[in-house]
């Protein structure tokens, strides 16, 4: 009940913020705009629309996750709204979890709206229902949940600027760690290899969530792989939120 109150308030705050709508409108324009590009291609319209559409959803979803996520906890400390909440019988870990889930709900609604738009647009060009988009969007949402987790984690102990820097860094690194590992395995010395291994396992490997190469080209994704990806995402979120709660539990709110 208490968590639910925090979740709903976080959701309400985001939904009443104009920035969210600007991002959403921009995203829809971009997805719609892909139809123009598609017109230039011959016979590849549906592919262009899907590729650009999924990329747009990923981009704007990440923007929402990062830019709302980084201020999630910090803003409440800065504006001292948190003082009133925590003077109530609201445990700090429930506050963190509530904020996280609230933003998760915002992302769910946004990804659903953008996804629905893409789904319908693709249907027009593909002349059949593009059900394969559902798992693509599902994985994408899971990736956003991980990014939000990372942003919440940083937001619980540092300023929005630093949080943004760290979260965006992790976002980029997260997409390249597999390459780095391959590269080091070939050329690096033993110490570099250990370090890269450490980073590889510690930082989120976001590429796991991008199975669209298979899915958008009509190739099947094995059930066990899908299961592993979902498990990986959820475990990563749980781990990073626990870490955030741990750091936040003893923090002085100056």
């Amino acid at each position: 009940m208490r968590i639910l109150a925090v979740v709903l308030n976080t959701f309400k705050e985001a939904v009443r913020d104009r920035i969210l709508y600007s991002i959403l409108v921009f995203a829809l324009l971009m997805i719609g705009g892909s139809a123009l590009l598609a017109a230039l291609s011959i016979g590849q319209e549906a592919k262009i629309i899907q590729d650009l559409g999924v990329a747009s959803i990923s981009l704007f979803g990440t923007l929402i996750a990062v830019f709302l996520g980084i201020g999630l906890v910090y803003k409440e400390i800065e504006r001292r709204t948190l003082y009133v909440l925590l003077s109530r019988p609201l445990p700090r870990d429930q506050f963190i979890l509530g904020k996280y889930l609230g933003l998760g709900l915002v992302l769910l609604v946004n990804v659903s709206l953008m996804g629905l738009f893409l789904f319908l647009l693709t249907r027009i060009y593909l002349a059949r229902w593009p059900w394969h988009l559902i798992p693509v969007l599902g994985f994408l949402f899971l990736e956003l949940l991980v990014i939000t987790g990372v942003a919440t984690f940083f937001s619980s102990f540092t300023t929005p600027t630093l949080s943004a820097l760290f979260t965006l860094s992790l976002f980029f690194i997260g997409h390249f760690t597999p390459d780095l590992k391959v590269f080091v395995a070939r050329f690096g010395g033993p110490l570099t290899r250990v370090l890269v291994d450490l980073f590889y396992y510690l930082l989120p490997n976001l590429r796991h969530f991008h199975q669209e190469q298979l899915l958008l080209n009509g190739l099947p994704l094995e059930g066990i792989v899908a299961f592993q990806v979902v498990l990986y995402g959820l475990l990563y979120v749980v781990a990073i939120l626990l870490l955030a709660m741990l750091l936040f539990a003893r923090r002085d709110l100056k």
């Binding site: 009940m1 925090v6 308030n9 001292r80 009133v84 909440l85 925590l86 003077s87 019988p89």
Partner: protein, 318 residues
Amino acid sequence: MHSFAIVTEDLCKDFRVGFALRRQRVLHHLNLQVEEGEVFGYLGPNGAGKTTTIKLLLGLIFPTSGEVSLLGREATHPEARSRLGFLPENPYFYDHLTGREFLDYCGRLLKMEGKRRRSRIAELLERLGIAKAADLQLRRYSKGMIQRIGLAQALLNDPDLLILDEPMSGLDPLGRREVRDLILSLKEEGKTIFFSSHILPDVEMICDRVGILVGGRLREVGVLEEMLEARIESIEVTVREPDFSRLSSLDLPLSSPPRQRGDRVLLLVADENTLRETLDRLHEARVRIVSIVPQRETLEDYFLREVNPGREEGGRAR
């Protein structure tokens, strides 16, 4: 036996400051006891450590050493928290919520059941005079209205202990008076009120006891009247006498030279003995006496002297 609403034992707080994260002590061995049912004014200049103390009481920051208990329990215990109401200094609440929604959010955090929550919110909105603004977003509230919604929030759970951080700062005289009246009526309901302030006249009027904090150290705790009564500083006698020089010839035992204001002259005498002598001589000389007013030390004077002993004399300058 008294029961205490707030007890701190040897409470210390260090903050790490600067690039080298040097430890700086902002609160030194605070031993404070606030009895249930009293209005306790926590006074001190800016930066004395008042807000730090309040944050320690609420568990927003953690003590370096020492202990805090509220209503007979550990400060962070949910039971203590649910019997507590808190108003932060210069409160700022969620812009995007309306007054009613904000109170509803707070009520949910208190696990108040829906029907009771709604009726209690309506009651408080009415009591604090913001019922008309209830469905307006908080971004459109004035400073005074924000303070009221903050108080409504603090009173939501009908708390036994209220902790108010500078409840009157930034309010106009009317608003201050309303807050003062509210505090007094809450006291009548038997609630304990702990509030910090540096607006002294407000404190003088409503506090049972005060504690004075300077530089992170509690200088004195006491019943306000007792702290001040001991210091009747002088007695002010006003007389009507157009001929100022005639007064000088009377050789009155004054503590400072007489001062003329129009056809009135202000005479300051040190105590009751010299007062009697002065009155006798004035009587003999048939000088008309307008008023006799004992000059009690005000809290302001006391405060200035405690904060800055070097300004002891300056504090009384009129």
